[in-house]
């Protein structure tokens, strides 16, 4: 393992059941332009986030992150805000799917998610699914094989492109 494989980011830490209504409130859903969504990301939960977030920051939360509405605008807003990846104890299923589909990395890693605090530095190696916090190494839950194919293709859009070009889905 080389240090170069790691991304180094600053943590924004939130609690359990962060819902997609607070990630991006419905009053902004009259567009899906990521540049607009980004300006309101998390504002009902933590107004300081949209002011302070920097590209490469890492969002960490507890259980059931992204619950509620199916709005894909939520992972789009986080991605556009520059969030490198989201680490949580667990994710709500639609949010998890949406994130994989649009290429926002999401990692389930309960021990790490509980250990970190806002402002901490965190290193992430996406290829290995490893995270380092204060010298301790944590392994995220591995993706099922099937999802890895979608991730490897670069998201669902290129995946379907390939399938359509190849004469339909298997």
């Amino acid at each position: 393992m080389t240090a170069a494989a790691f991304h180094l980011g600053r943590v924004w830490k939130y609690g359990a059941h962060v819902d997609t209504d607070v990630i991006i409130p419905a009053r902004y859903l009259t567009t899906h332009d990521p540049e607009v969504l980004r300006l309101h990301c998390l504002e009902d939960l933590d107004p300081s986030f949209k002011e302070g977030v920097r590209p490469g920051d890492i969002l960490v939360a507890l259980e059931n992150f992204g619950c509620g509405s199916s709005r894909e605008h939520a992972p789009l807003a986080l991605k556009a805000a520059g969030v490198y990846c989201v680490v949580a104890v667990s994710f709500a299923r639609i949010f998890f799917r949406n994130s994989i589909n649009i290429g926002l990395p999401v990692l389930e890693c309960p021990q790490l998610a509980r250990a970190v605090a806002t402002g901490d530095e965190l290193q992430v190696d996406m290829t290995r699914g490893e995270l380092v916090h204060q010298g301790r190494i944590y392994s995220a839950q591995a993706y099922p094989e099937f999802m890895r194919e979608i991730i490897a293709a670069g998201g669902l859009v290129p995946y379907v492109q390939q399938q359509l070009a190849g004469g339909g889905l298997k």
Binding site: A26, T30, N101, L156
Partner: protein, 421 residues
Amino acid sequence: MEKNLAEKLLARAAGKSEVEPGEFIWAQVDVALANDVTAPLAIAELERMGATQVFDPDRVVLVPDHFMPNKDLAAAAQAKTMREFAIKQGITHYYEVGRMGIAHALLPEQGVVGPGQLVVGADSHTCTYGALGAFATGVGSTDLAAAMATGRIWLRVPHTDRFVYRGRLPRWVGGKDLILYTIGQIGTDGARYRAMEFTGEAISALSMEGRMTMSNMAVEAGAKAGVMAVDHVTLAYTRGRFRGEPVVLQPDPGAVPARVYEWDVSRLQPQVAFPHSPANTRPVGEAGRVFIDQVVIGSCTNGRLEDLRAAAAVLRGRTVHPYVRLLVIPATQRIYLEAVRTGLVEIFVEAGGAVSTPTCGPCLGAHTGVLAAGEKAVATTNRNFVGRMGHPQSEVYLAGPAVAAASAVLGRIAHPEEVCS
């Protein structure tokens, strides 16, 4: 192996003799749904995928319901994108304002969804159709785009948790109270990634409306689907309405769910979910004195005719509290018309309520009844997250239509018995 209902529904959709929980499948989609918020993004993704046509214009359903009638210029532009797409693609089930409704009330009513189907919708409350014996689940816009392009979707077969409701429901208690009670017991991630299977005498005795209210909120417990077996109530509802051929699948008698919850509900009180979680439930008798500014009766959860009747039974001959705004929003045009014909609208208007054309409106804090900072509302909707109905410092209390109506009269959270002795 004996199979749970969700497994049998997904085996059918995957064209397999059987499937196992945890298994990844490619399934054939019977209906793919999007709305004015999720369709524009799905259409953009569809184009990026290089697809020029939807897989079947009879099976892609587009419903403008969220920011409708166009609440502002941006909403109008989104609706226009969807409308033009619907025309270009020759979408059969596109419902214009004046004929539309909130999708999850409209599709069952119009017979577009029915028993045995696999329905995917770019809206989390797509799970509503589980009440009809379908496997129905919410997805995002990109998943929906892939489903529109190919007619297929990948799914992981969920484990099943069975919920058994014993006994006869007391007066004033309905599907909303059962599901709020359930979420209160198991939490908003209590059924995460699972299929909830609702059963028991209390379910058998519920109308289709009450059942849809329950399946609607399965997602509030984190579930992928909220299914119910087809019975004579389902078939009586779909007869003469469902455009397809109902496929009636039942769970095998020996099927073993991952978890079983069983409750005697014969003494259940009407439930209220306090801010800011649908799991923060209490019996209405323990609500205390919560003074309110607004009451919303509507949404895909409780905007059906039975709900309006329950509210009207409380409001008939009474008036809304002077400092309270009552908004009644029939979920579809047909429900609206029935409410006019049967005198319900007259009762609401005479009581001092505002009756609106079908829309999601205040349910998601979009328009037509947004709350100011510090305001409180009782709503028959399904979510009371921070900012859900407007200002992040407003509060939403979730309840069934009878409690909502009684609260409108007294200006505070109230049991219907306090109003109707």
